[in-house]
């Protein structure tokens, strides 16, 4: 995509954002609110956080938790999903259990996380693991179940070993779905880390928000934190989207 095309794609979204900011600014002025900050105050708050270094500490803390919990979930969910998708017995045994656990909001796990893991980093990592694992399992299982039979038959016809079957047929066939699952999982992980930090922790972007409110109604910092959370979430999703363009899965999006 060249620069002009990119600009043409972006300008409607930027226009809407600019209009929202203008509306926000106008509303704060019109209502003479003393607590709700203007866009300019929020920007100043962000600059302040960036300058004294606390912003980077909070971002680092949140990203580290997401990274650890998500990595654990990937290592657990993908092999499990492949197994459940491939072995019918595993599917009928485990699927009902996961279907019951899946609708439980990750927030509901917070008391148990604190009970088991205390108030350190282990609690949010556990919560992220729990919540990002389910979408990845579901997508991986669905991926295995939707492999077209003609491909499995072709593999059967050539009489290849189980190892080759998995390495050259099953895993590449499911990979696009796994990446979709990872995208969803990472999105959920980012939602959950902020919630967990608001309740049980003393660092991270969620903590920044709740602490700013408690310590003297600093709503400029609250909104600055929210905007940063949004922007980082967007970049995380963008990174997962890049995976969708990878050589190994491009076949899926070729038509």
């Amino acid at each position: 995509m060249n620069k002009i095309a990119l600009a043409q794609r972006l300008w409607p979204a930027l226009l809407v954002a600019a209009m929202l900011v203008a509306l926000w600014w106008w509303l704060v002025r019109a209502t003479h609110s003393v607590i709700f900050p203007t866009p300019w105050q929020v920007l100043a708050a962000m600059a302040e956080l960036a300058r004294d270094g606390t912003l980077w500490e909070h971002i680092g803390a949140s990203l580290l938790r997401v990274g650890a919990g998500f990595a654990l979930a990937v290592c657990f969910a993908i092999p499990l999903g492949l197994w459940m998708g491939w072995v019918q017995g595993a599917y009928i045994t485990l699927n009902p259990l996961f279907q019951i656990l899946r609708p439980i909001s990750p927030i509901a796990w917070i008391p148990i996380a604190i009970l088991w893991f205390g108030v350190g980093n282990a609690s949010p990592i556990f919560l992220i693991f729990i919540s990002s694992m389910f979408p990845m399992i579901v997508q991986t299982v669905a991926g295995v179940h939707t492999i077209e039979r003609r491909y499995l038959r072709a593999a059967e016809n050539f009489g290849v070993s189980r190892y080759t079957l998995f390495r050259q047929v099953v895993i590449p066939a499911v990979l696009p779905q796994i990446i979709v699952g990872m995208r969803i999982g990472l999105g959920v992980a980012w939602l959950v880390v902020v919630a967990a930090e608001m309740i049980a922790l003393h660092s991270g972007l969620g903590y920044l928000i709740i602490d700013s409110r408690n310590a003297g109604n600093r709503y400029d910092l609250v909104i600055a934190g929210m905007i940063i959370i949004g922007l980082i979430g967007l970049s995380l999703d963008g990174m997962m989207r890049l995976l969708e363009g990878h050589r190994l899965v491009r076949w899926r999006y070729a038509h």
């Binding site: 038959r153 059967e156 050539f158 009489g159 290849v160 050259q168 899965v249 491009r250 070729a254």
Partner: protein, 251 residues
Amino acid sequence: MPTKIVVDRITKSFGSDQGALAVVDDISFAVGDGEVVALVGPSGCGKTTLMNIVAGFEKPDSGSIHIDGAPQLKPSKQGILISQHGSVFPWLNVQQNLMFGLNGHACDDKQGLADHYAALVGLQGFESNYPHELSGGMLKRAELARALVVKPEILYMDEPFSALDALMNLRMRNELLRVLAEERHTVLLITHDVEEAIHLADRVLVLSALPARIKASFEVTMAHPRKLSSRYVQDLRVAILRELGVYNEGE
């Protein structure tokens, strides 16, 4: 000519809401070693089902299949099926697809062998292309090459060229004939194109509408290369079309 495939009184029906649908009804035939037998029949008459059973992918309700005298229990490398809808793996490139069947082979130069067969079907220079980067005809040739690489004794071909335009169809037939002249595979070929059947086969079996039965059998005695405009081919074509019930005297 020794017998390669013996199909003995097989039947098959599929269960549905309206009860059982008989699809294959008491079919018996034999295919000689190196013989090319074409199956023609109306659409939906059970050709694919019959071939899946012969190739070992599905079980008949009754009857048996023997290959070289041994019962056919499951698919093997000995007979490769080229499916109607194509089954070249979209996530592997042409060369990886061709090398797929060679996994576990005690063979030093898999890549060389794959490239040899790619060249044989006119795909040299496209070894590193992915299937979505090939044309429909190239994809069919890749599928054929992938089957040929493992040197199967039998090729089961389910309408291999029917999705191609007339020109490409004719080219692929000639390429197949060239390969068969070199490697002498036994071929069971499904087609709905009577002319294609006469062009390629030593024998044409005409199947009835659902459930499939063998209605008639025609030997094609003409030597290769066959001239399709010849009187012989035209007369045979008319006879087969008449068996299929789609030929009017007025035409």
